[in-house]
Symmetry: C2
């Protein structure tokens, strides 16, 4: 293990590392947003309003965690991402569609998202459902984008599409959301909360890491280690979100603080209290960094990123 | 042109042909429904209700036009479909999701579909939105299904996925639905109605035909001719649906007769009257059959199917 990788162990994060990962995230976020603008369908006669409703949510900011993870993993394996940007962009489209549908009146009924009015507040409920449907479908257009021919081995590309579809579908993200909705105002055991988190949030984060692994032609062992990393930071990410929902400010969250508790949603702090929840987040991040043991310094952004998730709670 | 192909020209359809195509459609529908049952995710602990809501709409009957078209086209090109059934099933999943979302209170607010309560009437609005989301995502899991490896050239499979995604997405089916919703209670020119039809219904029907063409390794000319066939029967299909909505019985339609007019939706009979609309359907069917000129008798089911669409109006 190099000195550099050691320095990103949680608890020993330096201000330099924090600045470096923030700069890294800003740069990658810029690349993702530029690529999204490039790929989103052109305004077409008669469909201006529909395309606008898709673009509204896609351009509403956000951390772009999933595409950045995909890029960082591929680059950790030495892959140049220049010609492969449709893939990370597709992951962001799926995430954005899930937010639009989660916010709907029939679901979480949220008025604000990332500090802006939610899609249905601006375009109405029908248009918001359709904006989500289009973003989800468009994601698969991007995953099979003609410009990728020759840039990825077609067998890898099909496996990648299957990985994303499974993670986002009935036994993945949508299943998690379905159980989340069905569990509102109910006393659920911790096991059910864990299931909701790992499906609703964890599955697409893990798949984003696996996409990077497939793009970087990971060996079987590398794929396994990276999937473990994905599962661990997915968990950390969700625990930290629960913590911020209890402790954060509306400004940080872009939505009302305490809104989970208001809806009687089960959360980690609700089960374990703030202090033990914080320990669990730390432990997940440590596991994530440990999963990267066999990787060289090209994986440092992945290590710093894991540590940074935890630091958001401080 | 063989005697057999001549006999399926519209206007010269014999009772024998009608019986034959009905039997053909029944057989293929059975195959599709058996395959759907095989592929739909198993009931999983905690997600029973979500999987049930998907299965409810998927099993609610329907003509299975899109998967049957895909199969009939591939078989017209000599392709054995036994190992390729995930592809036609995916098309039916996309069609079913679109019906669930179209029926939602925020959209067409329909209580009945195929003679049964709509998804949201049974499972509630949130669950219905999610059932649709899962069916759409699951379609792409099927299009990239592991069992297809080796059964299709991977390049063809990626092109097929891209074709379906484009047809179902923002500049295809969802775009058409968005414009349809936005046009309710408005005076729209015929050109806009044509755009809505060709996007909302036509795009996925054409894509279903193109999937069959890709599975059957169609030549460039065959692909072009079959795409033309797809566009023509897509148009015929929609015109006939408009006619049945005016003329049909609730039993035939599985929904309230005249419901389009009730919502002030533009229709072909609204623009042209019933008699001229009937002529337009006939002409579209004739065009469709003409597009198959260069195909041998293996394409007869496609010819009979086109003729049968028109016969539904008699």
């Amino acid at each position: 293990m190099t000195e550099k990788t050691k320095s990103s162990q949680i608890g020993s994060s330096t201000p330099d590392n924090t600045t470096a990962i923030k700069e890294y995230l800003n740069t990658k976020r810029g690349l993702v947003e530029k690529a999204l603008q490039q790929f989103i369908p052109e305004q077409e006669n008669k469909l201006e309003s529909h395309i606008e409703s898709m673009t509204y949510s896609l351009s509403a900011g956000g951390k772009r965690v999933r595409p950045i993870l995909c890029i960082a993993v591929a680059e950790a394996l030495g892959q140049d991402m220049t010609d492969l940007m449709p893939i990370p962009c597709a992951l962001e489209c799926i995430h954005t569609y899930s937010l639009i549908h989660d916010d709907l009146p029939a679901m979480d009924n949220d008025d604000l998202r990332r500090g802006k009015p939610t899609n249905h507040m601006v375009y109405g409920e029908a248009a918001a459902i359709l904006a989500g449907d289009s973003l989800l479908t468009f994601a698969f257009e991007l995953l099979s984008y003609p410009s990728l021919v020759g840039a990825i081995a077609p067998e890898n590309q099909i496996r990648l599409i299957n990985t994303v579809a499974k993670a986002a579908g009935p036994l993945g993200m949508v299943g998690g959301q379905a159980l989340d909705i069905a569990s509102e105002n109910k006393d659920i055991p911790f096991e059910t909360l864990r299931f909701i988190h790992s499906h609703k949030t964890g599955a697409l984060i893990t798949a984003s890491v696996q996409c990077g692994a497939l793009l970087g032609n990971a060996s079987q062992n590398q794929f396994k280690a990276l999937s473990e990393y994905g599962r661990d930071i997915g968990l950390a990410f969700q625990i930290v979100d629960d913590l911020l929902n209890v402790e954060g400010t509306t400004e940080e969250l872009g939505k009302a603080v305490g809104s989970d508790a208001d809806r009687n949603k089960a959360t980690y702090p609700g089960f374990f209290g703030v202090s033990e929840t914080r320990e669990k987040a730390k432990s997940a991040v440590e596991q994530a960094i440990k999963a990267l043991e066999e990787f060289d310094q090209k994986a440092d952004p992945l290590r710093h990123l894991a540590a940074y998730i935890y630091e958001r709670t401080n």
